[in-house]
């Protein structure tokens, strides 16, 4: 049975539809990524799945428990780390662990064992008596995760767990997530860092409350089969982009920093010929090559199509 099964889940705030008939399944032990820009509806979906927010319509089961019928049962089975690391700033590492342990019904030897586990997992050894507010970002993040999984949940929801954390700590954090997943824990994680999405076994792209695409990152990239993506380096990227858009065999372009990505409308277009045509227009091209579409390409493409469909 799937760890999480979501069917037509919808949430309205007044007339505004924050989450619009979303359906997907997450297998046990899977790291499932939820991708979307700010306001897409990621947090709202997670909060419904955690039993914190009642759906307007649709249904979902988490760990086999119906989120509408038994939100408290859901809570007992899952761990949740909200997008702000929810620690008590004034309390020490140890006191935060104790507090969260006790409200989850842990005590005595069980709590001590989990405390050791969490300190170890988060590499927090030696920092037990440091106040949460004095911890650096990466440590706070790992303490927050630790506090969320004190009760050994089999399913964990992480809402933008890496916001405001340095790249090194982010990498450490993902290693930790990989370990948890390898141990059989199901993880649903939201992010708007597309590079992090590569850590996820499967991804859902959501845009304006709708599920725009779902699959492994390789599957998602298939939207570009038959439509090669070229990366053009040039000294005047904006002008190059405008010129490319006038070409018949270029479907669309987008700017990635100082380089231009061009999606071709046919698989047999010659990159060199394209470069020559640009040079004829008096534009300098440093390099032009076919690239593997990035998730960002996929995301933009999917969002654009979703937009075109209305």
């Amino acid at each position: 049975m799937d760890a999480i099964a979501v069917r037509d889940l919808t949430r309205k705030f007044g007339d505004f539809i924050a989450v619009d008939r979303i359906s997907f399944d997450v297998k046990q032990g899977e790291i499932f990524g939820f991708l979307g820009s700010n306001g897409a509806g990621k947090s709202t979906t997670i909060r419904m799945l955690c039993g914190l927010l009642a759906p307007t319509s649709g249904s979902a089961t988490v760990g086999g428990v119906d989120i509408r019928r038994d939100p408290e049962g859901v809570k007992r089975r899952i761990g949740y780390m909200s997008q702000r690391f929810s620690l008590y700033e004034q309390l020490t590492v140890n006191q935060n662990i104790t507090f969260y342990g006790v409200i989850y019904g842990l005590g005595g030897a069980a709590l001590d064992e989990r405390r050791r586990y969490v300190l170890d997992l988060g590499r927090l050894g030696g920092l037990e008596n440091v106040r949460a507010r004095d911890l650096a970002g990466g440590w706070r993040q790992r303490l927050a995760l630790g506090c969320a999984i004190l009760h050994e949940p089999s399913i964990i929801f992480l809402d933008e767990p890496t916001g405001g954390v340095d790249p090194l700590s982010r990498r450490q954090f993902w290693r930790l997530i990989d370990d948890l997943s390898a141990a059989g824990t199901t993880i649903l994680v939201t992010t708007h860092y597309l590079d992090e999405a590569e850590h996820c076994h499967r991804l859902a792209l959501i845009h304006a409350g709708r599920l725009a695409a779902i699959g492994t990152s390789a599957e998602l990239r298939e939207v570009f089969s038959g439509r090669p993506v070229l990366e053009v380096q040039a000294s005047q990227p904006v002008e190059v982009m405008r010129a490319l858009e006038t070409f018949e065999d270029v479907e669309k372009t987008s700017l990635f920093g100082m380089s231009v990505h061009a999606v071709l409308s046919a698989p047999d277009v010659d990159p060199a010929g394209l470069a020559d045509r640009l040079r004829l227009l008096g534009l300098e091209v440093t390099s032009i090559e076919r690239v593997h579409p990035s998730l960002e390409d996929v995301f933009l493409d999917v969002v654009e199509r979703a937009g075109a469909q209305g």
Binding site: P71, R76, L91
Partner: protein, 371 residues
């Protein structure tokens, strides 16, 4: 039970470590007590008084000691003539003079009306009328037959009895106002501390994290309220003790009854704070709401400063949902009058009803918030 203690213990540690909360809980009461206490101190004491006793009978001496023993007047001079008084007045050696006619003793004995003359320096019309109020009351308290003839020297305003006298027949404005101040300070500390503590958890996101755990709302609320109840009760008792030291507030009744009244009142106040926190999303909003639902009513609609009986009818109706109204009746009865529960039990019941309803309302709202 254990979770309740955990919530409470955590809260206490946080309060201890968070200077802002401690400030609210400890210094604000002290600050308000001093600021308002002295600002509201309408009493004028140690008024230099000259006496011209043309009678020299026991009755006249009784009247003089009535003035001196009131605590308001200090005998500064014994005048021999009207000229004396005028001179003392002009040199500002005295602010008031009492002139007793030669036939006072005889007239009182004969059961006739007698007139005593009270002269007051009218430089400050407000002070003058207040002092006149005191004099009036002293004179009539000595004997109903005495007829004070009031004269305010210089730019004398027409003598009207100062409005304060209506709701403070003992003319002890400090004593009348201090209980109101106690109610006000207790309300502020209790409401602000709980409201801010919950809203801070919302702002930080810890509230959502706590709500994820299988803790019932009841355990959370009780756990959260207990430490603030203890702290605000201690703080309120401190304010009462300080009022006794600073403003001569008496304690004529039972401490147990006072603690009971205080506790009921504080539970209501803490509930109000919790309720505010279910509505407000930011500390700033919580503060503004607290002003509207708690501070202003306690200040204006409780009988603290303005007597309820002199309010327009519909405003009087409003005062029925202001817990300070009931608390003040109980507090004044216990502290000032030494009255037993017979005098104020309906008010205690009203306080209990308010506390229960507002707590229930806050719990329902807290439980429903996730929906």
């Amino acid at each position: 039970m254990y979770t309740m203690l955990a919530v409470g213990g955590k809260e206490l540690r946080q309060v201890w470590r968070d200077p802002r909360t401690l400030l609210i809980l400890l210094f604000i009461p002290a600050f308000f007590l001093l600021l308002y206490g002295y600002a509201l101190n309408f009493d004028i004491r140690h008024i230099a008084l000259a006496v011209q006793d043309r009678d020299g009978t026991p009755k006249s001496r009784e009247l003089i000691s009535g003035f001196v023993n009131s605590g308001y007047f200090d005998l500064a001079a014994v005048a021999r003539s009207e000229a004396d008084i005028e001179r003392l007045m002009n040199t500002n050696e005295i602010r008031a003079a009492l002139v007793i006619p030669e036939d006072l003793g005889r007239r009182v004995r004969a059961g006739e009306r007698a007139t005593v003359q009270v002269l007051i320096n009218g430089d400050n019309a407000n002070t003058a009328t207040t002092v006149m109020g005191y004099a009036l009351r002293i004179v009539t308290s000595i004997s109903g037959q005495l007829q004070p003839e009031q004269r305010i020297v210089e730019r004398a305003p027409p003598l009207t009895i100062e409005p304060r006298v209506w709701f403070n027949p003992e003319l002890r404005s400090t004593l009348f106002l201090v209980p109101g101040l106690i109610a006000y300070i207790a309300m502020i500390t209790a409401v602000v501390s709980t409201a801010l503590s919950v809203v801070r958890e919302k702002e930080r996101g810890t509230m959502e994290q706590v709500r994820m755990a299988p803790v019932g709302t009841a355990a959370f609320i009780i756990g959260k309220t207990i430490p603030y109840f203890g702290i605000s009760l201690a703080s309120a008792v401190g304010v009462v003790l300080a009022s006794m030291a600073l403003f001569d507030l008496p304690m004529r009744g039972s401490w147990m009854q006072l603690l009971l009244a205080l506790s009921l009142y504080l539970v209501g106040a803490l509930g109000t704070g919790l309720f505010v926190s279910t509505v407000a999303d930011s500390q700033q909003m919580a503060f503004q709401m607290a002003i509207v639902v708690a501070f202003l009513p306690t200040l204006i609609l409780s009988g603290f400063i303005f007597p309820i009986s002199s309010m327009p009818g519909f405003v009087q109706l409003l005062t029925y949902v202001v817990p300070a109204r009931y608390f003040l009746v109980a507090l004044r009865s216990i502290v000032l009058k030494g009255a037993g529960p017979a005098a104020f039990w309906p008010d205690l019941v009203a306080l209990a009803v308010y506390a229960t309803s507002v707590m229930a309302l806050a719990s329902v709202r807290l439980a429903r918030e996730r929906r």
